[in-house]
């Protein structure tokens, strides 16, 4: 069956009769209002169903793994199980909750399958629906993007007021077709639906500071940092709310209870919470006990480890779907995973600063030249490696001071991505004393470097967005770092376009890169030269002429790097597209000596380009008289 055969369309006009038929024949459950919040509950009339909900207080796991679930009923010596699945159609589940159901499906099936859960799950038809409103603390746009929603039976995507595309993913989902006036969806409707679901991924307020693959590594590295966990958990009430509301928490406790007759009774399981103080406590007899996670910090750490680290191998990604329920529900407002990861990120920076404090800030380190290539008449492209073999950690857009003793030190941007570690590239244009001396060096020679310095491109603000890079001339060097980065982590970004302009074909750099970008479906690459001989087959004209070639949405994040004159014209062009100045990033060049905010050379009004930049949001500097 091809994709289009499994996708149907139902008009908005027909939707309520579809719901009515469903309600009459099935036990229909979906998002309903509870005051100004939402919960999954029984749909008794079509107006009850609120597909415009942002999030429910409890996740849908409650239907399959109820907060209190009888496992066994006993009467003296007799006992029986209580598995009694009720058929239901669970309607309107957002994709992140579908992902979480897939996780609990996995947990309850692995090893010895737990039929108390699985039977309920089996009896349900789960129909997803597109997110129409985003809950304030959700961050599903930036976590576990590689883990795709699955295990549901159908998925409805709302196409404005026209209707819904219904994506059938199982025979149970197929069975619902008989209740409504469905027809095959057209190609256009299908691609619109895909766009709706893709677009919403970029609209969460909250975003993770690390890409998902770095998450586990960074969080785990802090395991022994007791101070950190105690600090994070200082306000914790051990109330377990962050567990109770989490769609991927599945721990439980079991209690036996007698009925009034003192003969019969039941064995019941309850949702448990690893944040509560008794969770890991064992009795040692004679009234003493031992708690394996005695402090708030230890318990807090356990949850974060479980969400970000422990289960990743089994699940292929973090055990957190980014629903933000814990963030919203924690009365102390400390449970938010994004906050925790941000704190870990800060620690890294603090450690770096502390390490630098103990050094002479002007001491460079030796780097070996692994490759040296004259790319144009004046530019030389070097690949370097630290002489002590250490890897280099930097962000695209950061720079370093490069020097030769006796000649001097100059600021140069990184021209390769940090995703390709151990080596890094720089390109030096011969203009004066230092640059000319550097450009005489050959493979096997060494130079001296100090960095990374400054702030690069704001990756956390770029992730999940449409990106346009406008590079003029040598401006392609620092942006190449970002281009490579995006291509290496392509699925973390949305549409990606690159405009590159040079004065003439002979000034074009990175010829092999240009060729491969031109062919790649991952990047919309457009190039132009100001003037050229007849032999030039490409575009001729200034860089702004490229704007005609590509439709850009107003939410596009734009990076501009090139000669000063270029900025004004490019920004004029962006204004006609209604692009917010806060979403435009410019990479500035100034005379620099120290690179660390001391010498004063690079100062623009109250900002130091070396320390506060060289990358700035345009909105931050547009009113500074000295900036552009």
């Amino acid at each position: 069956m091809s994709d289009s055969e499994k996708r149907y369309f139902i008009k908005d006009y027909d939707f309520s009769s579809f719901l009515n038929n469903l309600m009459e024949s099935e036990n229909l459950v979906g998002p309903i209002a509870k005051k100004n919040k939402f919960v999954f509950g029984k749909i008794n009339k079509t107006e009850d169903l609120r597909l415009d909900y942002d999030i429910t207080i409890l996740p849908p796991k409650k239907f399959f793994f109820p907060p209190a679930q009888k496992l066994i009923e006993f009467d003296g010596e007799n006992y029986r199980d209580c598995i009694d699945p009720q058929k239901m159609v669970l309607f309107g589940v957002h994709f992140y909750d579908i992902k979480s159901l897939d996780m609990t499906d996995f947990f309850f099936s692995e090893g010895q399958p737990d039929n108390n859960y699985l039977a309920n799950r089996e009896a349900a038809t789960v129909i997803g629906s597109s997110v129409q409103k985003i809950s304030e603390r959700a961050f599903w746009g930036s976590i576990g993007r590689d883990v795709k929603p699955k295990g549901h039976d159908g998925f409805l995507t709302r196409l404005g007021d026209t209707g819904y595309v219904y994506d059938v993913t199982s025979y149970k989902g197929e069975a619902l077709l008989t209740y409504g006036n469905f027809r095959n969806a057209t190609k256009e409707e299908i691609s619109k639906a895909e766009k709706v679901n893709e677009d919403i991924m970029h609209q969460c307020n909250a975003q993770l500071p690390f890409p998902t693959d770095k998450l586990a590594e960074k969080v785990r590295a802090e395991f022994k940092n007791e101070e950190l966990w105690d600090e994070l958990a200082e306000k914790c009430f051990s109330c377990g709310t962050c567990n109770t509301v989490c769609p991927t928490c599945y721990c439980f406790d079991v209690h036996d209870k007698w009925n009034l007759d003192q003969k019969s009774g039941s064995r019941i399981r309850y949702w448990d919470a690893c944040l509560t103080s008794e969770f890991a406590q064992v009795s040692l007899g004679s009234g003493t006990s031992e708690n394996f996670r005695n402090t708030r910090g230890e318990r807090f750490r356990h949850r974060i480890m479980r969400k970000a680290v422990y289960l990743n191998d089994k699940l292929g990604g973090p055990a957190c779907v980014g629903c933000g329920r814990c963030s919203t529900s924690c009365t102390a407002d400390i449970a938010d995973p994004v906050g925790v990861y941000n704190r870990i990120m800060e620690l890294e920076k603090e450690a770096e600063i502390a390490a630098r404090k103990s050094q002479n800030i002007f001491m460079p380190r030796k780097a070996m030249i692994l490759r040296a290539e004259q790319t144009t008449a004046t530019e030389r492209h070097f690949t370097l490696k630290m002489a002590d073999g250490s890897s280099v950690h930097f962000e695209p857009g950061q720079m370093l001071e490069v020097s030769l003793f006796g000649y001097g030190e100059i600021p140069i941007g990184y021209a390769s991505s940090p995703t390709r570690t151990r080596t890094f590239d720089i390109v030096v244009r011969s203009v004066g004393r230092v640059s000319k001396a550097l450009n005489k060096l050959e493979v096997g020679d060494s130079m001296f470097v100090r960095g990374p310095l400054g702030h690069g491109f704001p990756l956390d603000k770029l992730r999940g967005q449409n990106i346009l890079i406008v590079a003029g001339g040598i401006g392609l060097c620092p942006t190449r770092s970002l281009i490579q980065y995006i291509l290496d982590r392509r699925d973390e970004f949305y549409n990606f376009s690159l405009f590159y302009g040079t004065r003439s074909p002979s000034e074009r750099m990175f010829l092999e890169d240009l060729k491969s970008w031109d062919k790649s479906p991952e990047i919309d690459f457009f190039e132009t030269v100001d003037t050229a001989e007849k032999s030039w087959k490409g575009n001729i004209g200034v860089i702004t002429t490229l704007f005609k070639k590509k439709a850009l949405t107003p939410d596009t994040r734009v990076i501009i790097c090139g000669p000063p004159i270029m900025y004004k014209f490019v920004i004029k062009e962006l204004d006609t597209l209604d692009i917010d100045h806060g979403n435009i990033y410019v990479d500035l060049e100034r005379r620099m000596k120290c690179g660390i905010g001391k010498c004063g050379h690079c100062q623009i009004n109250d900002k130091y380009v070396c320390k506060d930049g060289p990358v700035f949001p345009f909105s931050e500097i547009e009113d500074l008289e000295e900036a552009l």
Binding site: K35, K235, C236, F237, C239, K257, S329, T331
Partner: protein
């Protein structure tokens, strides 16, 4: 097995907890009587017995002479259960503990009368004698009481929650009071009640007392962050927890 002999005693309290006990509904209460022998129950009968399997004590210890009575009960009972907030945590009675003018305030010109004199502090029963199990709540939850008796009948240690009310509140999928611009003490209050108060749209006042390790500092901070003046945040809901505060 002979039916255990159970006695009920009351000290400084409103006797609301005893009334709650008889609120089971006739059938349930009669069923309970099939399993225990009530030999002393001030509300219901006045027989005296020598040895008791279980003594259930209601009310706080707040007068000197009560100590002798309590010690006598302890001596002739195998198991002592304090039931209700007054008996288990000091409850409302403990509100006087950080005040000196409460007698004038309550009794006016009669404040000096001999029969109105009491200790400076109202204490839970375990302020005088060893208590084996506590049934929390104001009034106590009759089903929890039943559960505890039920466990004892079977020689099993009763399970009494030591996690906060939020756990039960969230299981009920109640909208948190804080999200409705209100405040609440569920984060430090001992669960077991099923969180009926937030469910009814009113804050939990911790009538079951604190959990074992309440984060009092955070409670004050969170109340302030949610718009409560500092002084009130510090003193919020001492009504049921005055004797359990770190400054008690």
């Amino acid at each position: 097995m002979a039916k255990p002999k159970v006695g009920f005693f009351d000290f400084s309290s409103c006797e609301g907890c005893q009334i709650e006990l008889t609120n089971y509904g006739d059938a349930d209460f009669v069923e309970l009587l099939n399993h225990i022998d009530i030999v002393e129950f001030r509300e219901a009968m006045s027989e005296k017995a020598e040895h008791l399997d279980i003594a259930c004590i209601e009310g706080s210890f707040t007068r000197k002479e009560e100590r002798t009575r309590l010690e006598a009960i302890r001596k002739r009972s195998d198991v002592v259960i304090s039931f209700g907030a007054c008996a288990s945590t000091g409850g409302i009675n403990a509100l006087k503990n950080h005040q000196t003018d409460f007698q004038e305030y309550v009794y006016g010109k009669d404040a000096g009368a001999a029969h109105l004199q009491s200790n400076a502090k109202a204490l839970p029963i375990d302020g005088a004698i060893k208590v084996d199990y506590k049934v929390f709540g104001c009034p106590m939850d009759k089903y929890e009481f039943l559960n505890i008796i039920s466990s004892l009948l079977h020689g099993k240690t009763p399970e009494i929650p030591d996690y906060p009310v939020c756990v039960e509140c969230k299981r009920n999928e109640t909208i948190c009071r804080f999200q409705e611009g209100d405040h609440c003490m569920g984060m430090v209050a001992r669960a077991g009640c099923g969180a009926p108060c937030p469910e009814a749209g009113i804050p939990c006042e911790a009538c079951r007392g604190f959990i074992s390790n309440p984060n009092e500092a955070s409670l004050v901070q969170v109340l302030i962050e949610n718009g409560m003046p500092e002084e009130r945040a510090r003193n919020k809901s001492r009504i049921f927890t005055n004797a359990m505060r770190s400054d008690a």
